[in-house]
C-alpha cells in the first residue's frame, strides 16, 4: 500500500517537474532578453512607424494565411479521415511535405515555381507573389497547411461516423450534415488547429523571406525585422521585436482560448 502511495507521488512529481522545467526554461530565456533591453530603447523603437507596420503586417498575414489554410485543410482532412480511395496514402504523404521540408527549401521551390515555372502564369496575369505581401501570405499558407491537415484529420477521425449516419436519416444531405453536425461538433478541434497554425504562421521566417523578401515598409514582417536587426547589429531593436512578437502571440492566443472556452463542445 505504502509502495503504491510513493509510486503515485513519484508519478505526480515527474509530470509536474517536466512541465515546471519547461516553463522555467522558457521564462528564463525571455527574462534574459528583457534584462538586456535598456528602458529608453523601448520608447525609441516603439515610436518608429516601421515597427507598427511590421506588427500589423505580421498579424494580418498570419491571420489570412491561417484562415486560408483552414479553408483548404478542413475539406482535405475530412476527405482523408472519412473516405477510402486509391492513392490515399500518397495524398496523405504529399500533404505532409510542406511540414517536413525546411522553410527555406520550400521558399526556394515557391520562388522557382512563381518566378520561372508554371506559376509565372499568375505573375503574367497580374497576380504577383514574389517580393510582395501576397507572397508572405502564400509562403505562410504553404508552411502551415500541412500542419492544419494533420491536426484536423485527427479531429475528424475522433468523431464517430454514426452522427453523420443519424443526420442522413433525419433528412440531411452531405452539405447540411457537414455544416449542421460535423463543423459544430468539431468546433473545438478546429479552433485548436487555428491556434496551432496561426502561432506557426506568425513566427514563420525562412519561406517568407525567400519568396517575399524583407523590404522595409513593404514585406518586412516581425521575424524578418528580427533578422534584419541582427544583420545590422542593432541588438536593442532586435530584442524588442522578439519580445513584441512573444507578447502579441500570447495576448492573441489567450484571447482566443478565453473567448471560445465557454462554448466549447466535446468531440465525443
Amino acid at each position: 500500500m505504502k509502495k503504491g502511495i510513493w509510486a503515485d507521488r513519484a508519478f505526480n512529481g515527474l509530470i509536474w517537474a517536466a512541465a515546471g522545467a519547461l516553463a522555467i526554461y522558457l521564462l528564463a530565456v525571455l527574462l534574459t532578453l528583457t534584462f538586456h533591453i535598456r528602458p529608453e530603447s523601448w520608447t525609441k523603437v516603439l515610436m518608429r512607424e516601421r515597427v507598427l507596420f511590421s506588427l500589423n503586417l505580421s498579424l494580418l498575414c498570419a491571420t489570412v494565411a491561417s484562415l486560408l489554410g483552414l479553408l483548404f485543410a478542413i475539406p482535405a482532412a475530412y476527405l482523408l479521415a472519412r473516405r477510402q480511395f486509391p492513392g490515399k496514402d500518397l495524398l496523405d504523404t504529399l500533404l505532409d511535405i510542406p511540414t517536413v521540408l525546411s522553410p527555406v527549401a520550400l521558399g526556394t521551390a515557391l520562388l522557382l515555381f512563381f518566378g520561372s515555372g508554371p506559376g509565372r502564369v499568375f505573375e503574367e496575369h497580374g497576380i504577383r507573389f514574389t517580393f510582395v505581401v501576397s507572397g508572405i501570405i502564400l509562403a505562410q499558407f504553404s508552411v502551415v497547411v500541412g500542419l492544419a491537415v494533420r491536426s484536423l484529420k485527427a479531429v475528424f477521425e475522433s468523431l464517430s461516423p454514426r452522427y453523420e449516419t443519424v443526420a442522413l436519416f433525419l433528412g440531411c444531405n452531405k452539405w447540411s450534415t457537414f455544416f449542421k453536425v460535423i463543423l459544430p461538433m468539431t468546433r473545438n478541434g478546429i479552433i485548436t488547429s487555428f491556434i496551432l497554425v496561426w502561432a506557426r504562421a506568425i513566427g514563420e521566417f525562412g519561406c517568407t523571406i525567400t519568396l517575399a523578401g524583407a523590404v522595409p515598409g513593404k514585406t518586412e514582417t516581425i521575424p524578418a525585422a528580427i533578422y534584419l536587426g541582427l544583420a545590422e547589429v542593432d541588438i536593442q531593436e532586435t530584442l524588442i521585436y522578439v519580445l513584441l512578437l512573444v507578447l502579441v502571440a500570447v495576448v492573441v492566443l489567450l484571447s482566443i482560448r478565453y473567448l471560445t472556452r465557454k462554448r466549447r463542445v466535446g468531440a465525443l
Binding site: R162, A167, L168, F169, G171, P184, V265, G266
Partner: protein, 373 residues
C-alpha cells in the same frame, strides 16, 4: 414494408449468406443473436450503408442497393444513440423536423404525443445533453427519430446500456409509441427478454445466417436446430432415438438413455431416427404425491430427487435426477409453487415431462456451434 431476398454480402472475412425475410406493415421484428453474429452489419446493409454482393433489399417498396434507404420512410437509432452534443434536448429532437421543414403544427402535435408517452416534458428545456441520464438520452434519441414521422424505425441494440427498471419502462413506452404512431419496427438485440417482450416475430441469427424466424412462443417451444434451442436457453436437451411413430395420432415414442417417453410435438422425423429431445425448464411439472392425475400428466411421469436449488428472480431453478436418465434435468418453478410443494424440506418428488412440451429436433440438421449457458 421490408423485403430481403437471397441477400449475400461479404465484409472482410465475415459473410452474410443467402438471407431472406420480410416485414409486414406495422410489425415489430426483432433480429436476435449473440455478439458478432452480424446483426449490426445486416441492419447497416438494409439501411443502404453497406454494399452487398447479391440478392435484393426493398424498404417501403424502394430498392436499396448500396445507397441509403429512402430517408422519408426510415429513421434510425444507433446503439450509442448519437445525440448531437452541440444542441440542447429540444433542438436535438426537432433537428430532423427542421431539416425536413415539416409544418410546425404537425411537429407540435407529434411532439405532444411522443413526449407524453416517453415522459420527457420535464427535460425538454435542458440545454446540455451531457446532463441527461442514459435512460433520458435513449428517450430523447427515440423522440428525435420519431418526430419526423417515419414508416420504419430501425433500432440497433437500443436498451443495451440501461439498467433493468429503465429498460422495462422503455420497453412499455416503445410498445405504446408503436401503437400510437402505427410504425413498423426493425429491432436488433442480443437480449432475450427485450426481444420476447417486444417482438411480433423474432429472427435468430448466427454467424451471418438466419437460423429460424418465428413468433416468440413458437421459437421457444419449437426450435428447429440445436443451436437455436441452446441459444434460447432450452437447457434440457437430450440425445434421443425414436423407436416408434404413430402418424395418425401424431405420437412418437423416444428413448432417452434408459427412459421411454412420449412426444406429440415434432416435425419431419422418422422411426429409428436420432433426434434431440428438448424441454424447457419452465415446461417441466412437479406433481405432488397422491394428487389425482389428468390424462396429460399420466404419461412421462417419473420419480425424481431434487439435487440442487438456484434462486432466481421470482422463483428457483431446481436440478433433479431421474432414475434412468444419465444427466440431471432442470426445472424452473415459481416461489409460490416452491412453497406450496414444500420443496424446501422435501427432496423426493414426481416430475412430468408433458408429451406436448417434449419437442424433437432431427439430428441430421446442420450443427454449427454450441452455446454454453
Amino acid at each position: 414494408m421490408i423485403q430481403v431476398k437471397n441477400l449475400s454480402a461479404r465484409f472482410g472475412s465475415f459473410e452474410i449468406k443467402n438471407l431472406s425475410f420480410s416485414l409486414r406493415e406495422g410489425e415489430h421484428f426483432t433480429l436476435l443473436g449473440p455478439s458478432g453474429a452480424g446483426k449490426s452489419l445486416l441492419t447497416e446493409t438494409i439501411l443502404g450503408l453497406r454494399r452487398y454482393q447479391s440478392g435484393e433489399i426493398r424498404v417501403g417498396g424502394e430498392y436499396v442497393s448500396g445507397k441509403p434507404a429512402d430517408r422519408v420512410t426510415v429513421s434510425y437509432v444507433p446503439q450509442d444513440v448519437a445525440l448531437f452534443p452541440h444542441l440542447g434536448v429540444l433542438d436535438n429532437i426537432l433537428f430532423g423536423a427542421r431539416v425536413r421543414r415539416i409544418k410546425s403544427e404537425v411537429v407540435r402535435q407529434r411532439l405532444k404525443k411522443i413526449s407524453g408517452i416517453l415522459k420527457i416534458d420535464p427535460i425538454l428545456k435542458r440545454g446540455e445533453i451531457g446532463t441527461l441520464s442514459i435512460g433520458e438520452m435513449q428517450r430523447v434519441a427515440l423522440a428525435r427519430a420519431l418526430i419526423i414521422g417515419p414508416r420504419v424505425l430501425f433500432l440497433d441494440e437500443p436498451f443495451s446500456s440501461l439498467d433493468y427498471h429503465i429498460k422495462r419502462q422503455l420497453i412499455e413506452e416503445l410498445k405504446k409509441l408503436r401503437r400510437a404512431l402505427s410504425i413498423t419496427v426493425f429491432h436488433v438485440t442480443h437480449d432475450h427478454e427485450e426481444a420476447f417482450m417486444l417482438a411480433d416475430r423474432i429472427g435468430v441469427i448466427f454467424s451471418g445466417r438466419l437460423a429460424q424466424i418465428g413468433s416468440p412462443v413458437g421459437l421457444q417451444h419449437c426450435p428447429t436446430t440445436l443451436q437455436v434451442a441452446q441459444f434460447l436457453m432450452a437447457r434440457n436437451i437430450f440425445d434421443a432415438r425414436i423407436t416408434e411413430i404413430d402418424p395418425r395420432a401424431h405420437r412418437a415414442i423416444v428413448n432417452i438413455d434408459n427412459l421411454k417417453l412420449v412426444s406429440t410435438v415434432f416435425d419431419k422425423v422418422n422411426s429409428g431416427q436420432n433426434v434431440y429431445a428438448v424441454i424447457r425448464p419452465e415446461e417441466v411439472h412437479i406433481i405432488r404425491p397422491n394428487r389425482p392425475l389428468g390424462p396429460k400428466v399420466r404419461e412421462n411421469l417419473f420419480p425424481a430427487d431434487i439435487k440442487g436449488r438456484t434462486p432466481q428472480p421470482g422463483g428457483c431453478l431446481l436440478s433433479a435426477s431421474l432414475d434412468g436418465l444419465n444427466r440431471p434435468i432442470e426445472i424452473s418453478i415459481s416461489n409460490c409453487a416452491y412453497h406450496d410443494l414444500k420443496l424446501d424440506v422435501v427432496d423426493s418428488v414426481q416430475v412430468c415431462l408433458k408429451s406436448d412440451s417434449l419437442w424433437l429436433i432431427p439430428k441430421n440438421r446442420k450443427k454449427t456451434e454450441n452455446y454454453l449457458y
